[in-house]
Symmetry: C2
Subunit: 167 residues, 2 copies
Amino acid sequence: MMKIIMMMAMTADGKIAKNDNHFPNWTSKEDKAMFAKITKEHRAVLMGDKTFWTFPVPLPERLNVVFTLENNPPKIEGVKWVSGEPEKVLEELEEMGYNSAVLGGGCYLNTLFLRKKLIDEIILTIEPKIFGGGLSLFNENVNIDLELLEAKKINNQSIMLRYKVLY
Amino acid sequence: MMKIIMMMAMTADGKIAKNDNHFPNWTSKEDKAMFAKITKEHRAVLMGDKTFWTFPVPLPERLNVVFTLENNPPKIEGVKWVSGEPEKVLEELEEMGYNSAVLGGGCYLNTLFLRKKLIDEIILTIEPKIFGGGLSLFNENVNIDLELLEAKKINNQSIMLRYKVLY
């Protein structure tokens, strides 16, 4: 089974974006560098199309695996459009030689993967901001316990927490 | 001016409760001990009546300052029912000899105090859980920067973050 690591930056009040179109450029450069480093190690990033379209360009040097409900998404280099059951998508990626991937949101896809118990680890960066409203990490009630594996400052203002998901 | 410290425990996904009636008994004993210690130092805890009614009894050895819209709230020892502008309530507490108080939720009162720039510090405990849905720290859009003053483990699973609010 593919190892899936969900990786998200959030505000101190647990928000990942102000709204669906909010490009995640409010995070620290250390968080961006950590995201780039870890996603390049795993070589594939899973995301929803709303999240993908907030990026100016596809994430370079990684396979952008983008879940969409569109029938004819545009052909873009570095992008693999997928749909349907996440388990099937992960099987296909495994056949392509991937052993692991990073799940990078948004909250709909995060929730789908969590409900199906496909997320092994969660890496959160907590940035020193409050959005009040906006999008949370997930968008449905669940009741999941985590195990804290690591907690560290990535700069003097931002905290990284790494958890194992206990289903 | 009274110093106001907002103090909340939240899940890793930024939820303070599953719903309005959810008694906060899911937090670690170290968080409960820290809340008791700090609120006893400040001697007064501000909260909304929904939050107050999730408690089995009023917080002992502290003044429970409970915001309510009810006209005839029941007389309860240790409870000061208040209503109206938070600034007036804080003035009254100051006249009573309080220099500081802890704001303990819920999200409606937290948001009111934040919008009025009355919160000086925010102390968060992050517990190793996910609720998915539920109540966030605040319930309206804001855009506030924080300054991280302190980050520490209070046990091997729970992280305390202390922030100054930069208005």
